[in-house]
């Protein structure tokens, strides 16, 4: 456990450094605020809304403004450091996984993610010849163990996974 935490902290530090390096490489300034932002995304296990980010930043920088948060989210997204997804009626952000290609289970309640290795693209062939594939998205939505109890009372309007 102790060792696991140590490893985790090490990875977080790595990720922070990666993000900071990426910004630096683009010639952007490394302000304290941006370091804090890098730390937030390195630590966060799931998706964050602009509001989440704003709240978090405000804890350290009471005068922070929403527009700066948006500006930096945008910049980091355009850099490819963050990835966006539309979830629970809003745009959310998380650090793009840089290790290798994979997909996620996403908790619809707390928006935490769990990676898994299966990629459907490896199992598909026979695309229409005239369709030029560029990208794909595959997410599995549901409730994590922490949230599945609470979820039994109220669900969403989205359709369930059909069996056939």
């Amino acid at each position: 456990m102790e060792n696991h935490e140590h490893v985790h902290k090490h990875e977080v530090q790595e990720t922070i450094q990666d993000i900071v390096r990426a910004m630096s490489a683009k010639g952007w300034r490394i302000t304290d605020q941006r370091k804090k932002l890098a730390a937030l995304f390195a630590e966060s296990p799931g998706y964050l809304s602009p509001k989440d980010v704003y709240e978090y930043m405000r804890a350290s920088y009471p005068g922070v403004s929403f527009d700066t948060v948006y500006r930096n989210l945008r910049l980091l997204s355009e850099m490819g450091v963050l990835e966006q997804i539309y979830l629970n009626e809003g745009l959310k952000f998380r650090a793009r996984c840089r290790s290798h290609h994979h997909h996620h289970l996403i908790c619809m309640q707390c928006e935490k993610t769990v990676p898994f290795e299966f990629c459907p693209m490896k199992h598909m062939s026979n695309f229409p010849q005239d369709f030029q594939v560029v990208n794909h998205r595959f997410d599995i939505l549901g409730y994590c163990s922490d949230c599945s109890e609470a979820a039994k009372s109220g669900g969403t309007t989205d359709s369930l996974v059909p069996e056939a």
Copy 2:
């Protein structure tokens, strides 16, 4: 070809009727505008933005307002007649496929869709036991034959499909 078109028109009529019936079953009034809306989604091969819908409706009903378009899109979505997806920086709508479960190739340019049968959920097992799966999304993005020429000049900022 002639026969194919005939079949297509027949299907469109079916879909319109389905949508109208669904509205009627919920006790909603079948106004001319809503019939037109049903026809639009029955005919449309891809995703439509609220603006697209507004433009189309305005052709027949010059006085139509954006709020009515939104109201009806919302109602039809809540009914499950339409499905929403976040695409090209905006929320889009299309008639939910009622036939059977499948996924789509989506053209990032014109937002047309092509269905295919492969569903990754049938090939997956070994979910973390404590994650309660509710839903999934799997879309393949790219360019259809009509758009792939134009796309060679300018792409998007999204990542390509990694090979590993």
